[in-house]
Subunit: 343 residues, 2 copies
């Protein structure tokens, strides 16, 4: 392996024939954004997707516009002509029928056991390749940790917590930590602005579950009307503090600090695409000379949640493919591996 | 490989007996800072160092205070009792006599061919392990690129450009790029404050070489009195624009942008430890939705150049050791690999 070989490998896969064949599981707001992110890439080809009711796969590549149109008008990719199939077991059927090297799991975070159950499906199917999730909750990542031996034995390279936060901001914290002899605090504060919450129904319920007086069960049970009523009360803003976010366990696993030194909070504006504040992570520590200081990584306000989640997810997928092709399997977090830029 | 195994490996090397045995080549300001950075680490043990006139090695570990005292009072580590040896061929002698898994090359960047010539010495010696440099210039990294096949064949994992810039800030740019479909510009602006330039004689000449009207030869030929006279003219400030910095080629090699989209500049205050401005990198790009935006990574003002160079250098050394132990050799840049936190 060398920088030259990295480059050659990239060049070699620039044509579609050698592009990494990618699938997307889940086709809500995040899955649809993932399809649009993938569309212009030369190094990856989007060939497979599944939702709750069906799936679609085409070795020549799927068309995002056609897929999104079918999903929005008919409720499932299974209605896509001719590549779609309706199925009550869509993930298992897709795994069996599609030739895919890496999947992005753009699935709802809830219930909290869901992602691990999907990982088990992959393990049991005998499929080998790369899986990437953008999971949020610490407890969900803990469940993935229990699967690490099984993932390794199955020949699966699983990249967990590889969205925006955890993901991009966790990696920035891991990087920033390098300047310090010890880390005192990692503080993640996010601002999210979305013009229309109904495009992100699952994500919004996940956010509500973090609010005082709510939990996962209560948030999941809310009807759209109840969500709307809550948002009417708060002027469309969701203010979240001390959220259970897996950035904490990921930085602990990387040996950077203990999980109680990591805090995550933020403000979601569900009525305005402009962010209520600039998403940032602050890393405070002590240098070897005894100085206390803080590095800050701030995301540009014009970057959407979709861009900051899907971009890193595919960057980690590419890094995962490089590991997988070298026979390196098991579980990795966004804090351990450098994502690779996908052209 | 798995997160669990990462953790176990870390735990296993927590005692000195299994710590990574580290050497430092060069014992000016940067090498001395490296010794102080290493001192409290459990996962690494500083056992070897060389300067122009001699070397010192001790498998039980070297004492930074004793080494710095001898070097400053007598001009070489070779005078250290009992671990020091004077030598006109100090690097080759150290390679032969010390048992070291990874070296940090805290050597002057000038002449521009120096680092590659040291790498060749390692290749020719038959030594196998990890080398890390904090080189600055694009042309110096280009020379390392020519050695990649030889490094790989020699069983050496060489991490280049792994200081602050290039290094920490290049990696931050590579990470930030993940949010974007294409990158328009990477702009690195650094502020450095040092109380006493005479502690960083080589580094200051390297900076002067970037100034209008100067070049490497002219800067290297300057006497201390001439440097002092220049600094008297500028009030102790060195203002640098469009510097030849290897961040450009490293981001190009990582496929993130072309080198002409990367600019590096800054201000060095040689009379004040306070930074004249906050060191930062701005990454501007276009998201998949067509939005133009800029992510920013800013270093805390209280962090010194030494902390921001040596911390990342050893973080990349740890990452390099993990690659080397898996049989992954060759040349890597700071933009390709996530540095690992050293405890």
């Amino acid at each position: 392996m060398s920088t030259q070989q990295f480059t050659n490998q990239n060049n070699a896969s620039a044509g579609n024939s050698s592009a990494v064949r990618v699938g997307v599981l889940g086709f809500g707001g995040l899955g649809q954004a993932a399809a649009r992110v993938l569309a212009p890439k030369h190094e990856m080809l989007w060939v497979a997707a599944a939702d709750q009711k069906g799936y679609a796969c085409n070795p020549e590549g799927l068309n995002p516009d056609a897929c999104i149109k079918v999903y929005q008008s008919q409720g499932s990719l299974g209605y896509l002509e001719p590549a779609g199939r309706l199925s009550s077991n869509s993930i298992a059927d897709l795994i069996e029928n599609a030739s895919v090297e890496g999947y992005f799991l753009a699935l709802p975070n809830l219930p909290n056991t869901f992602m691990a159950s999907v990982a088990r499906q992959f393990i049991q199917s005998g499929w080998r390749g790369v899986l990437v999730d953008a999971m949020k909750r610490t407890s969900a990542v803990e469940q993935m940790l229990e699967l690490q031996d099984e993932l390794q034995e199955a020949g699966i390279t699983y990249m967990t917590g590889c969205g925006a936060t955890p993901g991009l901001l966790t990696a920035a914290a891991a990087l920033a930590a390098q300047s310090y002899a010890e880390i005192h605090r990692v503080k993640i504060t996010f601002g999210v602005g979305i013009a229309n919450w109904e495009a992100y129904r699952a994500t919004i319920r996940e956010d509500i579950a973090h609010m005082p007086g709510y939990n996962v069960e209560r948030a999941m049970a809310m009807t759209d009307a109840q969500v709307q009523a809550l948002l009417d009360e708060t002027g469309g803003l969701l203010t979240l503090e001390n959220m259970e976010h897996a950035d904490d366990i990921m930085l602990e696993l990387a040996g950077i600090c203990s999980r109680d030194q990591v805090t995550v909070g933020g403000v979601v504006d569900t009525r305005n695409p402009k962010k209520p504040l600039s998403t940032n992570v602050q890393i405070t520590g002590r240098t070897f000379e005894g100085k206390i200081s803080t590095h800050t990584f701030t995301l540009g306000d014009e970057t959407s949640m979709a861009a900051n989640v899907c971009g890193p997810a595919f960057g980690y997928l590419k890094a995962g493919v490089m590991l997988h092709r070298r026979g390196i399997y098991g579980l990795f977090t966004a804090a351990e591996v450098m994502p690779q830029f996908v052209r």
